[in-house]
């Protein structure tokens, strides 16, 4: 911008990754409301997990990993907050340092050297074989999403055939509830 006083902001969009937890009433269609909000307004979903967390109160917790500019993240939280069945919206990335974990089942097929190497790597990553045949393993691995990404990358040349991931579950540190 040459002219002084012009207000045009020219800047590369600064995209952040946020983990957002949403406590909802577990009523019919509640997940569709959350997902429809993201698709309808053009927000990203990197991962999404949902399960009932209180069977007596029928509340479910949705954990969404999303990315966007700070403005978009603020809108996402505000838009989630106005959905009628939503109790609370918490941004673990901002408000309290949270713990994020994800579980994956990773199937590797092969024999000989590669098979041995796969088992050795799995041990290093504290991944547990939960199904074993003469030609394959299924490993169970839990950790931060980045750790799972690394493990999967290492398994690829060793005969990776299938991956199933749960998506991120997150919770705050310390004694407080959500």
């Amino acid at each position: 911008m040459s002219a002084a006083g012009t207000q045009r902001r020219v800047q590369a969009p600064h995209v952040e990754r946020h983990t957002i937890a949403v406590l909802v009433d577990n009523e019919a269609g509640v997940l569709a409301r959350v997902i429809g909000l993201f698709s309808g307004r053009g927000y990203n979903i990197e991962s999404l997990t949902v399960a009932e967390v209180d069977h007596a109160a029928h509340t479910s917790r949705v954990t969404i990993v999303t990315s966007g500019t700070p403005e978009v993240i603020e809108q996402i939280k505000a838009q989630l907050g106005r959905l009628v069945p939503v109790h609370r919206v918490v941004d673990w990335t901002l408000e309290t340092p949270g713990i994020e974990r994800e579980m994956a089942l990773v199937k590797v097929a092969g024999t000989g050297e590669k098979r041995v190497e796969a088992l050795r790597m799995a041990d290093a990553f504290r991944a547990r074989p939960v199904d074993t045949t003469h030609t394959s393993f299924v490993f169970e691995i839990t950790g931060a999403p980045g750790k799972i990404d690394s493990f999967i990358d290492l398994m690829r040349p060793l005969g990776l055939v299938d991956v199933s991931r749960t998506g991120v579950a997150a919770i705050s540190r310390g004694p407080e509830s959500m």
Binding site: T6, Q7, R8, R9, D25, A28, G29, A32, R33, G36, G40, E71, E74, Q75, A78, Q79, G81, R82, V84, P85, V86, H87
Partner: protein, 601 residues
């Protein structure tokens, strides 16, 4: 409930205070308990039990429309002119899908509606049954909330929640989808007072600290402007009263969105007219040069802000809204106030008065001098003609001849709508019903039906275009059936005028499919419906014909043939800033819309 159990219908169940009745009876009872007097609807297979219960219901008048879209727009007109939620009953499948345009319209403009849809019996859901559709799936993104009631035990609670959610917080439309077997089933009916929603708690009280900050900002402002919107109307007549008091107290200039017209009287000295794409020169320039914008119940819509990166570059922005998601959505806000507009205005006034705050009088006088210079530009003037009726002239005459009456105006969408917004002077809230957010052609005629139902003795006029009005023309028949003397004032320029205007300004005058060929003879059409048909071709006959239209106590379709080439100015072209308006005497400038601007709507 077994056969014998049904014999207990109407008997009180001692412990809960609940009364046994069928689902259909519950619907009627809930409407009565919420003070509903009018329902707009259309029967069909999946709502027959409700219509059967309606047959013998007391105190409920059903208005039979000719198309479900008409029912929803009529309910919108009813709601906007009364402040009460509009109620609609339609059948499953096409009944529900036809309601979608109206639902979306009501969502965009925050209009409270309770729409009850029939659904196929629960055991048929998912089987592609006759007239089945996924109503809650289809209407999820176009309602504030919706429900499919699969258990009779939930029905009463859901109906009461529906009214609460539609009419509180930021109002909006809700859908209650009721399968046919649930309408027949008997169950306990509980009253509205025994229902408290588990999660829904709209915040309506302002934070004191923010009120204090707002008062500080207002007291130190040198070039302030109030920018008000439909939120003031939705907050009830008291909010308009408080707004008037605050403007009088501060002497700050005030502009409004399309939705907010009437909250502040157009005859008021501080009134700058509407802002935005077809707003006044003075309103838009005041926004651009302001050092403080006090936004009350508006949402910085793209039609209001124009080019966002050049919007009000030097202004601090206060934003009062009941919906937190509106803050920082389009424009960064310096001071948000999340609250009901009336409550927040009351607090602001209270602090302003008790702390004896004063405005910066010298700066404000300078500001008003600048504004008067913009006003002197007289941006709404047009070149009148003796030979052909100018659309602006037609609206001016309509206003002049109806201003002393108890008048309600609805519109369709397009040039006529903008001319009406610019030229018709509204002095009170709830008198102006128009489709703002969605821009729904065909809104005005059914909306007028709804307004007239609510105000049978008032003068209700739909200012229309010949293209828009044909989209819901069938509701003329509704007006005739219920003896609703609505006046449809068509500015007939034989074009989809706003489309034609944009094609002229942005697409080299290539008028692709915007000419209204094969128009019906509106006079004969009116007569065929049993209405009064009228037409006018010259300015000299206009006044007498308008008076005749008003005098007739029957629905009138008045075909006013206007100049086909007139454009609506002033105009802030898309992609332009508030201080880059095209005025009516500078049409040649219009060719300079940027490529970037062309891509915007």
């Amino acid at each position: 409930m077994d056969r014998d159990g049904s014999a207990l219908a109407g008997a009180k169940v001692a412990e809960t205070g609940a009364v046994e009745m069928s689902g259909a009876e519950m619907v009627i009872r809930a409407l009565q308990d919420h003070g509903v007097e009018h329902i707009f609807g259309y029967p069909g297979g999946a709502v027959l039990p409700i219509y059967d219960a309606l047959f013998s219901a007391d105190g409920l008048e059903h208005i039979l429309v000719r198309h479900e879209q008409g029912a929803v727009h009529a309910a919108e007109g009813y709601a906007r002119s009364t402040g009460k939620p509009g109620v609609v009953v339609v059948t499953s499948g096409p009944g529900a899908t036809n309601a979608v345009t109206g639902l979306t319209d009501a969502l965009m403009d925050s209009i409270p509606l309770v729409v009850i849809t029939g659904q196929v019996a629960t055991h048929l859901i998912g089987n592609d049954a006759f007239q089945e559709c996924d109503t809650v799936g289809i209407t999820r993104p176009c309602t504030k909330h919706n429900w499919l009631v699969k258990d009779i035990a939930d029905l009463a609670r859901v109906l009461h929640e529906a009214f609460q959610i539609a009419s509180t917080g930021r109002p909006g439309p809700v859908v209650v989808d009721i399968p046919k077997d649930i309408q027949f089933k008997k169950g306990p009916y509980i009253g509205p007072d025994s229902v408290r929603h588990r999660t829904y708690r709209p915040k309506t009280d302002p934070e004191l600290a923010q009120i204090v900050k707002a008062v500080d900002l207002m007291a130190s402002a040198k070039r302030p402007v109030f920018y008000t919107g439909g939120g003031i109307i939705n907050a009830g007549p008291e909010a308009s009263e408080l707004l008037r008091e605050l403007v009088k107290l501060t002497d700050f200039p005030i502009t409004s969105t399309l939705m907010g017209l009437g909250a502040f009287p157009a005859s008021g000295r501080q009134w700058l007219g509407m802002l935005g794409m077809h707003g006044t020169f003075e309103a838009n320039n005041a926004m651009h040069d302001a050092d403080l914008i006090i936004c009350l119940g508006a949402r910085f819509d793209d039609r209001v802000t124009g080019r966002i990166d050049q919007f009000a570059p030097g202004a601090k922005k206060i934003h009062l809204d009941i919906d937190a998601s509106q803050i920082n959505k389009n424009v960064r806000i310096d001071l948000p106030i999340i609250a009901d507009a009336a409550k927040a205005l009351r607090e602001i006034l209270h602090f302003w008065k008790t702390q004896r705050r004063k405005v910066d009088q010298n700066a404000l006088s300078e500001w008003w001098k600048t504004i008067e210079a913009w006003r002197a530009r007289k941006c709404l003037e047009f070149r009148n003609s003796d030979a052909v009726i100018k659309p602006q002239y037609a609206i001016d005459r309509l206003y002049a001849l109806t201003r002393d009456r108890d008048v309600y105006i609805t519109t369709e969408v397009g040039q006529h709508q903008m001319w009406a917004a610019q030229r018709f002077k509204f002095e009170a809230p709830n008198r102006w019903m128009t489709s703002g957010g969605l821009g729904t052609m065909g809104y005005g005629l059914p909306a007028a039906v709804g307004v007239q139902v609510a105000h049978p003795d008032s003068l209700v006029i739909d200012i229309a275009g010949e293209a828009s009005v044909q989209m819901t023309m069938q509701e003329m028949s509704t007006a005739v059936q219920y003896e609703l003397p609505i006046k449809i004032f068509i500015l007939n320029n034989r074009y989809m005028g706003m489309v034609r205007q944009w094609q002229q300004l942005l697409h080299g005058g290539r008028y692709s499919h915007s000419y209204s060929e094969a128009l019906p003879d509106f006079v004969k059409l009116a007569e065929a419906y049993g209405c009064v048909g009228m037409c006018a071709d010259t300015p000299s006959e206009l006044d007498a014909k308008i008076m005749e239209m008003i005098a007739v106590r029957r629905p009138v379709l008045f075909d006013v043939r206007v100049d086909p080439k007139e454009n609506c100015y002033p105009m802030m072209p898309s992609g332009a800033a508030h201080n880059e308006m095209i005025l009516c005497d500078a049409e040649e400038e219009a060719a300079t819309v940027s490529d970037e601007g062309k891509m915007l709507l």
